[in-house]
């Protein structure tokens, strides 16, 4: 249990920031949304979920059959319906349960993300929260991915999530974390705080998939601390309509030879406003980071940000923002930033925004491929980043999305 004095301190700082606008993205009036929602009934197996929910969940990698999974977590609105580990050395539970169970949570909760960062973290700190606590015990190699789903089923609600993920020393953990909403939900806000701890010699891959509704707003705040010889890989995929997403996850690399990789693959459809980025701060010798973003606008707005900060010598990092405009109505704003504070850092970036090169289409047509198929092939190729742990259902979904999108051009 968190000590009362700490709880009070978090609350005090949050209260002071409740109107503080975020550094990026559109401002959201949270008062327009439902703050309190009823508790839902817990379940014992994923099979108890309705067929409709199971189907939606499958699109973001949550497989009710649990084949090739090491554990499952399902949060419906503000209730954790189920949390279970199917492998020794893996802990999965509601964050509230972890806070009650472990005194040491005081060293992990609101430590990487600050309650007074902005109005969204402030909201999260001052309202009823749920979320996952996932921990791989020291040395545990969790072979199959753990699947987590954050599901919004109530019109106009704010889903308030706070996650803590710990890969203890020498452990290995893969997480597929999907967010989606009920087919009937048209409006809502998802606030998600995630604090990742990848300790010495540990490896954590985290794949986040979004499949929201057209009018949903998303504000996630996440940060990772990476230890010595540790590897953190974070993937973000969003191919579906969403109204407004803003996030800028960061990695603080404090141990020697740490590795951070971010892959962002998104499509902004007309009406979508995506302000995304990733950040790596290299503070120990031998650290490496690679931040890659592939963005496509089919009429929506995308800000593709990236920041690498090299604070010690013998560090190396690369940032890549590539954007493809498939509509004259779309906008892609690529903002790659490099900050070197000492000699001996090796930081680079590559940014490109443009349309499909006609010559590429013609090259394929010269092999007998029609223009639409050629365009789809090039778009699919553009989005091709090696993403670990993507479920087949999502891969098929991505492929279908891109091909459908390609036909409209």
């Amino acid at each position: 249990m968190l000590e009362a004095v700490m709880v009070e301190e978090i609350r005090r700082r949050a209260e002071a920031a409740k109107d503080k606008k975020a550094a990026y993205g559109n401002d959201v009036d949270l008062d327009k949304y439902l703050h309190d929602v009823p508790i839902r009934e817990r379940i014992t197996t994923l099979g108890e979920l309705s067929a409709g929910i199971r189907e939606r969940a499958l699109t973001i990698g949550m497989d009710a059959s649990e084949a090739y999974r090491s554990g499952s977590f399902f949060q419906h609105d503000q209730t954790v319906l189920i949390s279970k580990s199917m492998q020794e050395g893996l802990e999965v539970m509601d964050i509230n349960e972890a806070l009650a169970k472990y005194d040491w949570m005081k060293d992990y909760y609101f430590k990487l993300v600050q309650p007074d960062q902005d109005k969204y973290t402030a909201y999260s700190a001052t309202h009823k929260v749920a979320g996952y606590f996932i921990r791989a015990l020291p040395g545990a190699k969790i072979e199959f991915p753990l699947q987590a789903c954050l599901y919004m089923g109530r019109e106009g609600m704010i889903q308030n999530v706070h996650n803590v993920i710990i890969a203890e020393e020498g452990s290995e953990l893969h997480i597929i974390s999907g967010c989606t909403s009920d087919a009937h939900v048209t409006q809502g806000v998802h606030i998600g705080i995630s604090e990742f701890y990848v300790k010495d010699n540990a490896k954590l891959t985290f794949t986040m998939i979004h499949n929201w509704a057209e009018n949903l707003i998303v504000r996630t705040r996440s940060s990772t601390r990476i230890g010595k010889n540790a590897v953190f890989m974070s993937n973000y995929v969003c191919m579906k309509p969403v109204k407004d997403v803003q996030m800028y996850p960061s990695s603080i690399m404090e141990g020697e030879n740490g590795v951070a990789r971010y892959n962002t693959v998104v499509v902004a459809l007309k009406g979508s406003h995506l302000d995304l980025g990733s950040k790596a701060v290299l503070r120990a010798k031998g650290c490496k980071a690679e931040l890659i973003a592939r963005t496509i606008s089919m009429g929506g707005y995308i800000a593709s940000r990236g920041l690498i900060e090299g604070d010690v010598p013998d560090t190396k990092a690369h940032l890549e923002c590539r954007g493809l405009l498939l509509s004259d109505e779309g906008t892609i704003y690529a903002v790659p930033e490099l900050l070197g504070t000492v000699q001996g850092v090796d930081l680079s970036h590559e940014a490109a925004v443009g349309k499909i090169n006609e010559e590429e289409i013609q090259y394929l047509m010269a092999r007998g491929v029609d223009s639409d198929t050629a365009t789809a092939l090039i778009v699919r190729g553009f989005l091709e980043v090696d993403i670990e742990g993507l479920p087949p259902a999502l891969q098929a979904e991505m492929k279908r999305n891109i091909e459908l999108g390609g036909k409209g051009m």
Partner: protein, 249 residues
């Protein structure tokens, strides 16, 4: 096979081909000589149907069909294959995909990775299949990769743009043999059904691939035709300046 009559072509309003006439019969291989900027590549791209080459007058027929306004993919499906001298890099599209696309189109069924690998062996390109098409390929690797795609496509008319440029001594034989395979040079003349049009700047490839007829192209028009070996000797001896004043014009 291919018949070009009085072809005049513009790019961005500028005339680049002027009253070109050309006939390539079934099973024939023709060579096209000419200095840089004479319009050789433009002629190949016009035959292949690259959209920026606008036909202002004249006609192109292929296998008896008027293809003057046909899109590129339709021409490819009819049996026209082109080797690009400077192909674009296709990010995320692997050479394996390119070869497979052509093979599947030809056979009208799925092709396995092993089948693609088997074909790639012929050009020592197995190691390149998983690479993005043309990314970081050397001049010689591009030639081999283009030829591999043509082998997969099996076109009836092969348009080759300087297949010998940038190819080292070790690989020129391989390139020559592959072109001979594409053009069925192992068969007797009467049995050949594949035709070719080869652009060559220095004529090196003709040491490996026998051509039936050659043309000299200058300033967007075909000035003369003749025996490839003799024409090449004359050009090597006197250069192209002689062509401008040649009596056979």
């Amino acid at each position: 096979m291919l018949n070009i009559e009085h072809l005049t072509v513009e790019v961005d309003g500028k005339r680049i081909l002027n009253d070109v006439n050309l006939h390539i019969g079934e099973g024939e291989t023709h060579a096209l000589f000419g200095p840089n900027g004479s319009g050789k590549t433009s002629l190949l791209f016009t035959i292949a149907g690259v959209p920026k080459y606008k036909v202002r007058s004249g006609k192109i027929t292929f296998k008896g069909k008027d293809i003057t306004d046909a899109p590129m993919d339709e021409r490819a499906k009819l049996g026209i294959g082109i080797m690009f001298q400077h192909p674009p890099v296709l990010r995320g599209v692997k050479l394996m995909d390119m070869v497979r696309i052509s093979m599947e189109r030809l056979r009208d069924k799925k092709v396995s990775d092993d089948e693609v690998r088997e074909l790639a062996k012929k050009l020592n390109l197995e190691g390149f299949l998983s690479r993005e098409a043309n990314l970081g390929f050397s001049g010689g690797e591009i030639k081999r990769s283009e030829l591999l795609q043509l082998l997969a496509q099996r076109p009836d008319l092969v348009l080759l743009d300087e297949p010998d440029s940038g190819v080292d001594m070790v690989n020129i034989g391989l390139v020559g043999n592959t072109i001979n395979e594409l053009l069925q040079k192992d068969l007797k003349t009467v049995h050949r059904t594949k035709s070719g049009l080869i652009i060559t700047h220095f004529g090196n490839i003709l040491d490996y691939v026998r051509a039936d007829k050659a043309y000299v192209m200058m300033k967007g028009t075909i000035l003369c035709h003749g025996n490839p070996v003799e024409l090449l000797e004359e050009i090597r001896h006197s250069g192209y300046s002689e062509c401008l004043s040649c009596l056979r014009r």
